[in-house]
C-alpha cells in the first residue's frame, strides 16, 4: 500500500467530509517524517515508504476511530437555552406590558419567537463559509434591500425604515466576512477594513434611521477589527509599531471621527439628548424618560413593586430596552438580576464557541456574533441605569416585533453553524 492509498482508505472512513483534509495532511506528514527517518538509517526510498506505511497501523481502524470524533456537532445546550429564553422572553414582554394588553399581540409575538427558532435551526445547517466567500456581494445586496425597504416600506412616526432597524445589525457578521476576505500583511491592508467601518456606520445610521445604531455598529466593527489585529492577522506587531499601540491608535481615531460626525451631522434633538445626558440637572425636562426610569429603579425592592411605581407602558412599548427597568420596577432587583444572568449565560456560550473555533473564518464570524450580543446587552443595561444616553436598542429574546427577533435568531444560528462546522481547514 502506498501513501495515497493509505490516506484514501483512512479518510474514507470519516463520514464528515470537511474533516478529511485536516486528517489527510497530518497523516501524510507523519508518513513522510517516518520515511525520512528510515532513509537516514540507510534504507532505500521504496522500502522506506513501505515500512513507514506499515508502521502506521490499520487505516480502517484508525479511520473508524477518527470518524467517531469528527462529527458535525449540534450545540444542544445553546439550542435549549435559546428555546427556554425565547419562551421566557415572550412571557416577560407580556406581563410587563411591552406587548400591549391585546391577546393578538401576544399571539403575534409567539409566532415571531417560533419563527426565530426555525431560523436558528435553518441557519445552523447552512455552511457559513459563504459569508467569507461573498461578503461584498452580501454587503451590497443587504444595502440594496434595506434601501428599497426604506423608500417603500411602512412609515413609523413619520420615518421610513425603523421597522427594520434591528436587521441593520446584520452588517456586523457580513463585516466579519469582509475582514476575512480582505485580510493581508501590513498596515496598508488596514485601509479597506477601516473604510468599511465608516461606511457601515453611515449606512446603518441612515438605513436604520438611528444615530445610536450607526454608532453602535461602527463600535462593534471597530472592536472586531482590533480583535483581528491582536490575533495577528495583519502581522504588524513585529515591526516598528506594536499591535497594542496600533489598536489604541485605531480606537482613538474612530472615536474622534464619530465625535466629529455627531458634531457636524447629528440632528439638534440628538445633540440636545447628549448634552442633557452630560448635564442632567440643567435639562430636567429633556430627561423626562431617563429620570422616570431612574426613579423606578432607585425605588426598587429586592422582591415586588418599586416604591416609586412602575414605568408608563407606552415607554416600554416605544423604547423596548426599557423592559429591563420595568422588570426591576415590577418584580424587584432579583428579577433584574435574573435577566442579567440570562444575558450573561448567552454571552458566555457565544464566547465559548469563539474560543473553540479551529479556523480563522469561524473565529472572526463567531467573534462578530459574540461582540454584537455582548455590546447590545451591556449598553442596554447601562442605558437603563442611566450610565449611557438612551438610544434605539433591542435586547436578545426581549425584542418586540419581528425584526429584532429575526436578527438575533440569525446571530445565534450563525454561532451554532460555527459550532457545527468547526473544522481547521475551510475551503473558501
Amino acid at each position: 500500500m502506498n501513501i495515497e492509498e493509505y490516506i484514501t482508505t483512512l479518510t474514507e472512513q470519516i463520514r464528515y467530509k470537511k474533516a478529511r483534509q485536516e486528517v489527510a495532511q497530518e497523516v501524510r506528514n507523519h508518513i513522510l517524517d517516518q520515511t525520512q527517518a528510515y532513509e537516514q538509517g540507510g534504507i532505500a526510498h521504496e522500502k522506506a515508504v513501505e515500512m513507514a506505511v506499515l508502521e502506521m497501523g490499520n487505516p480502517v481502524e484508525a479511520g473508524v476511530a477518527l470518524d467517531k470524533i469528527h462529527r458535525p456537532q449540534f450545540d444542544w445546550r445553546l439550542f435549549a437555552i435559546t428555546v427556554l429564553f425565547s419562551a421566557a422572553g415572550v412571557f416577560i414582554m407580556y406581563v410587563t406590558g411591552a406587548l400591549g394588553s391585546e391577546y393578538s399581540q401576544l399571539a403575534r409575538q409567539c409566532g415571531f419567537a417560533a419563527l426565530g427558532i426555525a431560523i436558528i435551526v435553518l441557519i445552523c445547517f447552512v455552511d457559513y463559509t459563504f459569508i467569507g466567500k461573498y461578503p461584498l456581494q452580501l454587503y451590497i445586496l443587504m444595502t440594496v434591500v434595506f434601501f428599497i425597504y426604506q423608500q417603500t416600506g411602512r412609515q413609523v412616526n413619520g420615518l421610513r425604515g425603523p421597522a427594520l432597524r434591528s436587521l441593520v445589525y446584520l452588517y456586523v457578521p457580513v463585516y466579519a466576512g469582509l475582514l476575512y476576505k480582505y485580510r493581508g500583511k501590513g498596515i496598508r491592508k488596514l485601509i479597506i477594513p477601516f473604510a468599511f467601518i465608516l461606511l457601515t456606520a453611515l449606512l446603518s445610521q441612515s438605513l436604520g434611521a438611528s444615530l445610536y445604531i450607526g454608532l453602535g455598529i461602527g463600535a462593534i466593527c471597530t472592536f472586531l477589527l482590533l480583535y483581528a489585529i491582536l490575533k495577528g492577522w495583519y502581522q504588524i506587531g513585529e515591526k516598528r509599531i506594536t499591535a497594542p499601540a496600533l489598536v489604541a491608535a485605531i480606537f482613538a481615531s474612530v472615536v474622534l471621527l464619530f465625535a466629529i460626525y455627531i458634531l457636524c451631522f447629528a440632528a439638534d434633538y440628538q445633540k440636545l439628548r447628549l448634552i442633557a445626558f452630560l448635564q442632567p440637572e440643567a435639562y430636567r425636562d429633556a430627561n423626562y424618560q431617563v429620570s422616570a426610569t431612574l426613579r423606578a429603579i432607585n425605588g426598587a425592592q429586592i422582591f415586588g413593586e418599586s416604591t416609586e411605581g412602575t414605568l408608563i407602558k407606552d415607554f416600554v412599548q416605544q423604547e423596548n430596552f426599557l423592559i429591563f427597568a420595568q422588570v426591576v420596577a415590577m418584580y424587584g432587583l432579583i428579577a433584574g438580576a435574573a435577566v442579567i444572568i440570562a444575558f450573561g449565560t448567552l454571552t458566555y456560550y457565544a464566547l465559548h464557541i469563539v474560543r473553540r473555533q479551529k479556523n480563522q473564518l469561524g473565529m472572526i464570524l463567531s467573534a462578530a456574533c459574540f461582540l454584537l450580543v455582548l455590546f447590545n446587552c451591556t449598553t442596554g443595561i447601562l442605558m437603563n441605569f442611566g450610565f449611557m444616553p438612551m438610544g434605539s436598542l433591542q435586547f436578545p429574546f426581549l425584542s418586540r416585533g419581528g425584526a429584532g427577533t429575526v436578527m438575533y435568531a440569525v446571530v445565534i444560528g450563525l454561532l451554532m453553524s460555527c459550532c457545527r462546522n468547526n473544522v481547521r481547514h475551510t475551503v473558501v
Binding site: E26, N29, Q34, G57, P59, A62, H70
Partner: protein, 108 residues
C-alpha cells in the same frame, strides 16, 4: 520487553499529556519522544495516536495550531489549563492504582 496492551491503553493519554506539559509537539515527535523516554517500551502506532489526540482536543484538554517548518505545515498540540487539571487527576488515579498493586505483590 513486550507489555500487555491493556496496561498501556489506559495510560497513553496520561503520557501524551505529560509530554505536552514539557513543550508543544507534533504527532511524529510525540511517538519518537515517547519511545526514547520509555527506552523503546512504548512504541505507539500513529493509527492509535491521532484518534487519541483529536479526542483530547475535542474535550478541550489540548489545542492545536499549524506552523510551517521546512516547507511542511505541521500541526502542533499544546496542553490547556483543563488538560493540566485532567493530567493531575489521571496521575493521582495512577498512583493509587500503582500503590495498591505493589501492596498486593509485596504481601508476605
Amino acid at each position: 520487553m513486550a507489555i500487555d496492551k491493556s496496561l498501556i491503553s489506559g495510560s497513553t493519554s496520561m503520557m501524551i499529556l505529560r509530554l505536552l506539559e514539557e513543550k508543544d509537539m507534533y504527532g511524529y515527535e510525540m511517538i519518537e519522544t515517547l519511545e526514547a523516554k520509555s527506552k523503546n517500551v512504548f512504541t505507539l502506532k500513529a493509527g492509535t495516536l491521532y484518534p487519541l489526540l483529536h479526542s483530547l482536543e475535542d474535550n478541550g484538554y489540548l489545542t492545536a495550531y499549524e506552523n510551517e517548518v521546512n516547507g511542511k505545515v505541521r500541526k502542533y498540540y499544546s496542553i490547556t489549563k483543563s488538560g493540566k487539571k485532567y493530567l493531575k487527576s489521571k496521575k493521582d488515579e495512577w498512583n493509587t492504582y500503582q500503590t495498591a498493586v505493589l501492596n498486593v505483590l509485596c504481601m508476605s
